[in-house]
Amino acid sequence: MPEKVLMKGNEAIAEGALRAGCTAYFGYPITPQSELPAYMAKHMLPRHLTFVQAESEVAAINMVYGAAAAGARAMTSSSSPGVSLKQEGISYLCGADLPCVIVNVQRSGPGLGGISPAQGDYFQATRGGGHGDYYHIVLAPKDVQECADLTFEAFDLADKWRMPVMILADGLIGQMMEGVVLPPARDLASLPAKPWAVGHQGKSGRPFNHVSSINLVPDELEKSVNDRFERYKAIAESEVRSVSTNCDKADLILVGYGTSSRVAGGAMALAKAEGIELGLFRPTTLWPFPYAEIAEFAAKGKKFLCVEMSMGQMVEDVLLGVGMSGVSGDAAPVHFFGRLGGNIPNEDEVLAAAKDVLAGRSKPHRIGFADRSLGSGRNLGSNRSRGQ
């Protein structure tokens, strides 16, 4: 039996990266992910791997750009305000087709916001948060085990598709401790060759490599973006991942990722004890999003309740998925329950929101601001007074 070790989510991300063959890490301190650079410093410096505490997140992502261009498995990590600063660099990485791993252990915003867990960066992560037309893969771990496993796989996906892969966690996932079985460390010699990377040109005599995102010829730039979108199509066809639990038996499916999927799972268990069947659908890839799976449920007339730590962001992807089914929105209504500001929804309030949906007491979510509310218009309790 492989040994289980007790770790924080942030540490499991770091160890997963090291085992995947990450040899270059660049970061700037920010709560709630600071254990991650500390872990990297502790384990990389004695092994003479590249660890740099950068002067800013802007510098860190551009160091990743250089290290990735030179062929290393490179990574940076931060939390929401810092990830905003990285967006310029992420756009350039996507424009230059460079693989790397970027970790966002989300906290609440906007602005400096708070340091408690949140999921308000979903749009930024899944819609290409910087300038220009691009996407990149986004993976959402729900526990410490997935922190290690998804980060480990993220490096393979990045190399395979030549693009950044983002791990979208939140402060709760990053800070909590759980047992984890770590993946076996990669032999660096077994990593895929990168014939496009710079360096050692003299040894092979290959043509010179130029890593760049510039192209001033409209037709050429249009074609290169278009070609990249062909790749996106292939990714959407092959890399979508999700987990469904009890969705066949239930009329109402709770949808959540990361921390909110854990809470939704708890609410599902409470419901079961009361004799109510609820389903749980958890996207593991937020981009590409499992639209087809949502559409299939919609075609069966299921109802959805999205649980998020935001004003409602992933819910728009669920609505898109329902739209793809051809079923009318009334036949497969999408409801929303959210907490934010660092508040984490609790199982009781999610269950109450689910009962409201089942009893026809709440209105479906609509894109826009007309009927916007955090859920069912109910009086929401304070996390703090509950001692969380």
Partner: protein, 268 residues
């Protein structure tokens, strides 16, 4: 008797450049590539071409290249050099790239003692975007964004930044020199500075930077020969030429410790 034959450097791609007549970038490319040839490093050199007129450097350098975002050149060069430690890494930057948008990146790369060489092309103007004020624009010098000339007084436009002198206070810096391409003699001297810096880099000594005063006749609204005269008369007094700091272990003038504020200390 040895005879030197004038040749096109192997590391310089035989292309007509996009640079304007009288531009300094082409001469500076030539110096860099001559030295890359002399050191036999064509197959193990990486040039980081900045955002600025020399964004085209990757067309002209017969080496691998990496093109980062505006001003982030030293951060990207840090990433490249940390991975390719035995390569020559050249971080090529203009004054806007280095001394305005990328100030944090250059200061911290210098302070960490990153072992790449920065070639800092100071033409006292934003060339690529059409003649806006640069951090190195002289007081009174006209720019599209300083139509009456740079005014540090009421208009609050600040003063020309002396990059070498500023970086000299940082202990990570080992070699900081300022050359100019106004005359054959100064071109030769500049070449010596670059060569010293590259050799120091390959020995892993620490941060090296060569600033080069360079004409931009187009955005100075001058003829090429007038631009050269203006460099000598107006720029050199503000940006004195020479080795501003030299703590290279093998250069005979090494001073132990690399003390801060050595602008005068290392100067020859």
């Amino acid at each position: 008797m040895e005879t030197a034959t004038y040749k096109h450097p192997a590391s310089l791609v035989p292309l007509q450049t996009k640079y304007c007549p009288g531009c300094g970038h082409g001469v500076i490319h030539r110096l860099i590539t001559e030295i890359i040839d002399e050191l036999g490093l064509q197959g193990s050199s990486i040039v980081l071409n900045p955002v600025g007129c020399s964004i085209w450097a990757d067309l002209y350098f017969g080496t691998d290249s990496v093109q980062p975002a505006h001003g982030r050149t030293p951060a990207a060069a840090t990433g490249v050099k940390r991975v390719l430690k035995d390569h020559l890494v050249v971080c090529y930057q203009g004054d806007g790239d280095l001394a305005a948008i990328g100030t944090a990146e250059i200061i911290h790369a210098a302070n960490r003692g990153e072992k790449f060489t920065t070639i800092f092309v100071n033409n006292a103007i934003y060339g690529m975007t059409g003649g806006q004020m640069a951090p190195t624009t002289l007081i009174g010098q006209k720019a599209t964004t300083a139509p009456e000339g740079r005014d540090p007084g009421e208009a609050g436009m600040g003063y020309p930044i002396r990059v070498c002198e500023m970086l000299a206070t940082l202990e990570g810096t080992r070699y900081l020199a300022r050359g100019s391409v106004d005359s054959p003699a100064n071109v030769r001297k500049t070449k010596q500075y670059i060569k010293k810096a590259f050799e120091a880099q390959m020995r892993g000594e620490g941060f090296t930077l060569v600033e080069i005063l360079s004409p931009c006749p187009t955005n100075w609204s001058m003829k090429p020969n007038e631009a050269v005269d203006w460099m000598v008369e107006a720029m050199v007094p503000v940006f004195p030429l020479g080795e501003i700091k030299n703590l290279l272990a093998t250069d005979g003038v090494a001073k132990a410790g690399g003390v801060a504020g050595t602008a005068a200390g290392g100067k020859k």
